[in-house]
């Protein structure tokens, strides 16, 4: 029987999951658990019995969310009679489910927002078939958020194995990739940067997917050294809309069938409401939602585009608008830099001044002036951070993105 989940050293088969579903005919609409198997069991049970569910983080303090009734957390609800004779029946029920799943944005900035999704919108890009059958996934996302759900559904409907590596250290991740012969990894650039520098290659990995934040070519090159057999792709998944486009390299494509569901106004991507979950926090203009993502056409006729930045991320420095992502990309290209974070700090002379936090890799020695000199040959003066702080680590959001305060 196929292995469903490997968490720490424990292995859970699909058969065990079916048994648990049949034995315990109850579920928790508002479930908080750090045990991944119980968490997935609860999701699957709710979905295949058409119940609604709210996904909250295991470390979440309910006071962080406005309209959450703390007394309802981990309150059990009976599901009545049912029986599933095998995992195929469970998967069939899942595909036809009418459940509504509520998730929260992690927010690299601001308060979490609530979004309600149907199973249909959560599984929109899930692929099923022979070629997906024997995949073994390193599970590198938080399971309560969109990207984590996407990977879970993709793996689950194909009877794949999930190996939990979320929040693991570098050596733990490598040890698991090797031990369980992981074939697929889907994670944030921040996760992949954790794996650098290259020391040893792992040929078992066939597919490496980047999502959540913008990555850069140097990171791709390094990751390809570590996983030389892997194909790299990007994914665009938001809490608001789920997965909308898959991509090759840095580009994304709007499919022919979805062509009328997107508009681009002032470089911003607008998404038709039919593709979104439901949320009171969405602001529509007509039937379209402002994604806040700024894009650039690569081939407009073919619907191919690339992401430039987030709209609200532009920083005004003495009247010049700076895209911090662009600056981070250039800093990250410097040999010896593992990762960087660029942000504006209020300043009485310019309104804002640009600050960079830089994490160096290994025992590389670079001074702030060294970095600024390199940037000088690549960026206009107003885009060069006037203060560079060296840090040992960055604080991350619940989904593993760098936190922008």
């Amino acid at each position: 029987m196929a292995i469903f989940l490997i968490d720490n050293t424990r292995e859970y088969s699909y058969e065990m999951l079916v048994d648990r579903i049949n034995q315990h005919r109850n579920y928790y609409p508002l479930f908080k658990s750090s045990d991944l198997f119980s968490y997935f069991e609860n999701i699957v049970k709710a979905i295949i019995t058409n119940q609604s569910l709210v996904l909250i983080d295991s470390d979440l303090n309910p006071s962080e969310l406005d309209d959450l009734d703390e007394s309802k957390v981990n309150e059990s609800v009976s599901l009545g009679e049912y029986y599933f004779s095998n995992i195929d029946q469970v998967i069939s029920a899942l595909k036809e489910s009418k459940s509504e799943i509520t998730i929260f944005t992690s927010g690299t900035t601001g308060q979490p927002k609530k979004v309600i999704h149907s199973i249909n919108s959560l599984t929109r890009v899930v692929r099923i078939g022979e070629k997906y059958k024997n995949n073994i996934w390193a599970y590198a996302y938080n399971p309560t958020h969109m990207a984590g759900l996407q990977v879970f559904f993709q793996a689950f409907v194909n009877n794949n194995t999930l190996v939990n590596v979320f929040n693991d250290s570098r050596s733990e991740v490598y040890q698991k990739i090797s031990k369980y012969q992981v074939t697929h990894i889907s994670a944030t650039p921040t996760f992949y940067r954790l794996l650098l520098p290259f020391e040893k290659s792992y040929r078992c990995v066939q597919r490496v997917t980047f999502g959540g934040e913008k990555s850069d070519n140097r990171l791709y090159e390094n990751i390809l050294m570590i996983f030389p057999e892997a194909k790299i792709n990007n994914v665009y998944a938001s809490t608001e809309a789920g997965s909308l486009f898959a991509a090759k390299g840095d580009n994304f494509q709007i499919s022919e069938s979805n062509k009328d569901k997107f508009k681009v106004v002032d470089d911003e991507l607008l998404i038709h409401k039919s593709l979104l979950g439901k949320s009171e926090s969405f602001k529509f203009e007509g039937d379209y939602y402002h994604s806040g993502d700024l894009i650039e056409w690569v081939d407009k006729g073919e619907g191919i585009f690339k992401f430039k930045s987030r709209k609200n991320e532009l920083i005004n420095i003495g009247g010049y608008k700076v895209n911090p992502i662009e600056v981070e990309d250039v800093i990250n290209e410097i040999v010896g830099v593992r990762q960087s974070l660029v942000y504006g700090k209020a300043n009485s002379v310019l309104g804002n001044i640009l600050i960079a936090e830089v994490q160096l890799s290994g025992d590389i020695i670079l001074s702030d002036l060294d970095i600024r000199k390199i940037l000088k040959s690549k960026l206009q003066d107003f885009k060069i951070p006037r203060k560079i702080k060296f840090v040992d680590s960055f604080s991350l959001t619940r989904t593993g993105k760098i936190k922008r305060s």
Binding site: N347, V349, L350, I353, R372, D381, F382, R386, K387
Partner: protein, 74 residues
């Protein structure tokens, strides 16, 4: 304090490929004598703020080195 201000100003000059100055006069004008642009002045403020927790430009313009000393002494 005076040495610290000198050190910060020289670092800003170094980043612009200007020669360091050996000493500061209280009459030195930040823009004209020390060749600092508004971006450089912003950098100066942020570094002084980190060091002394005082925003020298908070209530208006500071033009000379003497005026900086005065702000930091208050």
């Amino acid at each position: 304090m005076e040495n610290k201000v000198l050190e910060i100003i020289n670092k800003i000059r170094e980043a612009k490929n200007l020669q360091p100055v050996s000493e500061l006069q209280i009459t030195d004008n930040l823009r004209e004598d020390l060749e600092l642009t508004s971006f450089d002045l912003a950098e100066l403020t942020v570094n002084l703020e980190d060091e002394y927790d005082i925003d020298i430009f908070e209530d208006g313009l500071v033009n000379t080195v003497g005026e900086i000393y005065k702000k930091l002494q208050n």
